[in-house]
């Protein structure tokens, strides 16, 4: 960005995070600006830092979620990593002020030698336990089924990799990193209209936000379904936990064409600038 205007962004944030059993309460405020091509970020000093006191985030929900997962009855899988967050943030830039509340859950569940990675924008204990229970039943690896459904969470993780390869839209909602409303747009090869700013200390970049694949085709409800990611997506390869009837097994999908996208209401997931997952078929 080479704009000579002094664009100032300010953020006040409070977060409660449980990280593998340790609880943090973080309270901070920062500002960022860009001028003559130089990006600068620093904490807001003095009175301004306390000018917009925020309510405390929902620590009780974090506590309940962590205890529910660690106190579960199903011991067929282990929780290797568990990070649960509840936060509230106030943003101010370009004459606009807005407030966001967020919840995030990251877990890795293991049954050696398998590990399932879970990233949710809600403290959905049941979703974690459902995937963990399937992991606990997993057998030996099998070849990829010829046709496979991707559960919404897997589809959401894949969407950022499909820009330019699948008809998608940016769904409207909230504001971007420069205070502009995020409007519904068809995703094109051109520059995205909005800006992604995950932290005040990170230089914002143009990005498509709130990705959603446009529904088409028909989902085969009898096809095996990939329910969990066994590793981060690497190029065109998906390592997944798959369910076919009563069988649960790890497999490797080399994804090519998406043959269908469900018309079900998609669920937002915290991948990159956000993506709405709905069932898809490969």
């Amino acid at each position: 960005m080479t704009d000579d205007r002094d664009e100032v962004y300010r953020k006040w944030g409070r977060v409660v995070r449980s990280e593998d059993g340790t609880i943090l309460h973080v309270d901070e405020a920062g500002e960022a600006s860009e001028r003559h091509g130089v990006f600068r970020a620093s904490p807001i000093a003095g009175e301004a830092a306390g000018a917009s006191p925020l309510p405390a985030p929902d620590a009780a929900s974090v506590d309940r979620c962590v205890h529910a997962i660690l106190d579960r009855g199903d011991r067929s899988y282990q929780v290797e990593r568990l990070i649960v967050t509840s936060g509230i943030a106030r943003h101010e830039t370009n004459g606009v002020t807005w407030t966001e509340e967020t919840q995030r859950l990251h877990a890795s569940l293991v049954v050696p030698p398998l590990r399932v990675l879970i990233d949710l924008a809600s403290l959905d204990v049941a979703a974690v336990d459902a995937i963990g229970s399937l992991l606990g039943r997993a057998g030996d690896a099998r070849p990829a089924p010829p046709r496979v459904r991707l559960a919404p969470a897997i589809a959401a993780a894949l969407l950022p990799h499909l820009i330019g390869e699948l008809a998608m839209e940016q769904r409207e909602g909230a504001r971007d990193g420069k205070g502009q409303p995020v409007e519904r747009r068809a995703i094109t090869a051109g520059p995205p209209p909005n800006w992604y700013r995950p932290s005040y200390a990170i230089r914002p970049v143009r990005a498509w936000l709130n990705l959603r694949a446009l529904p088409f085709g028909s989902i085969d409800p009898e096809a095996p379904v990939a329910v969990g990611l066994l590793s981060p997506i690497d190029g065109k390869v998906l390592q997944v936990l798959c369910v076919a009837g009563q069988s649960v097994f790890p497999t490797t999908l080399e994804w090519g064409a998406v043959t269908a996208v469900s018309r079900d209401e998609p669920v937002w997931h915290p991948y990159e600038g956000g993506s709405f997952g709905a069932e898809m078929m490969l």
Partner: protein, 301 residues
């Protein structure tokens, strides 16, 4: 959430590192981070804050410690004077002043990148390490990839051992049979990247030494000069090393830890300072000084 309601006391199924002693009761940090590209400043960040334990809970705020700020600024000023002499590179300077309980410490690192390859150094060694980086970048890989013995130059074996010995120790991995001629010092301390991070048991440094492990340099070999990154997975006991510069270019090694240990064939000389390991784990980037002698391994590609 009330103090003491944490689950740290019954997290036995979570990562072993979560069970480590929690470290300093009070932590303060001021850091400055600047990105320079071809002599021009592109990004500048200031971070400050303090964290303290209250029962099992860490309370963290962006409070500023003026003494740490002065120390940090002085160190950054000194590092900036070096940037002018490295105008064809991308340089990230991080000056980091911390206080853990009553113990202050200062650390300044410079990540220097040319043509996608990097060294991580300190102001004291920046000129020499920049020269090494220039020499490595100018060298054209000549050998086709082949299954050849590997000679680890410039202390680069310390990165292999950082993953296979250091991170394995952090995770409480089982024993493997390391050669008797090799000793590797990877002390763990409770460390954190910022005031908003949970302290974890992390390596402070890696120093590998050898005694009586001479080897004959094979005519056909791969010479490794720079490492681009690495990883250790406690679930599979697998070590991954991304070689960024060698006589046969870039390649990746992915082998079980036992296979790495069995492949170590010999070593020569005193430990050599490797220019740079920024260890990124659980989202926390920490500098780890690393030294190793020249080491030879069986083919690992």
């Amino acid at each position: 959430m009330k103090p003491g309601s944490g689950v740290a006391g019954r997290t036995s199924e979570l990562r072993r590192s979560a069970l480590h002693p929690r470290g300093a009761e009070q932590f303060a940090i001021v850091s400055r981070d600047e990105l320079w590209v071809r002599g021009a400043l592109l990004e500048s960040r200031l971070l400050h804050g303090q964290a303290r334990f209250r029962g099992d809970v860490i309370e963290a705020r962006d409070t500023r410690d003026e003494a740490l700020l002065r120390t940090c600024d002085e160190s950054l000023d000194a590092a900036r004077t070096i940037v002018a002499g490295l105008r064809d590179a991308r340089i990230r300077i991080v000056a980091r002043a911390v206080r853990e309980d009553d113990r202050p410490a200062m650390e300044t690192t410079m990540s220097i990148t040319i043509d996608g390859r990097s060294v991580v150094t300190t102001p004291a060694d920046a000129i020499a390490d920049y020269a090494l980086l220039c020499a490595v970048v100018a060298r054209t890989p000549v050998d086709a990839r082949a299954s050849l013995p590997i000679v680890w130059l410039h202390g680069s074996a310390s990165v292999l051992l950082h993953e296979a010995v250091g991170h394995a120790a952090e995770e409480g991995a089982g024993e493997v049979a390391w050669p008797e001629w090799l000793s590797v010092d990877t002390p763990l301390a409770s460390r954190r990247a910022t005031f908003r991070d949970v302290p974890q048991p992390r390596m402070t440094h890696v120093i590998a030494r050898q005694v009586g492990a001479p080897f004959v340099v094979p005519e056909a070999r791969i010479e490794v000069m720079l490492i681009g990154g690495g990883a250790y997975d406690p679930l599979t006991d697998m070590v991954t090393i991304h070689v960024a510069a060698s006589t046969c270019g870039r390649f990746t090694i992915r082998r079980p830890r036992s296979r790495i240990a069995a492949a170590l064939r010999g070593a020569t000389g005193e430990p050599i300072r490797y220019p740079g390991v920024i260890c990124s784990r659980e989202g926390q980037e920490l500098y780890v000084t690393s030294h190793a002698p020249v080491i030879i391994t069986d083919p690992l590609t």
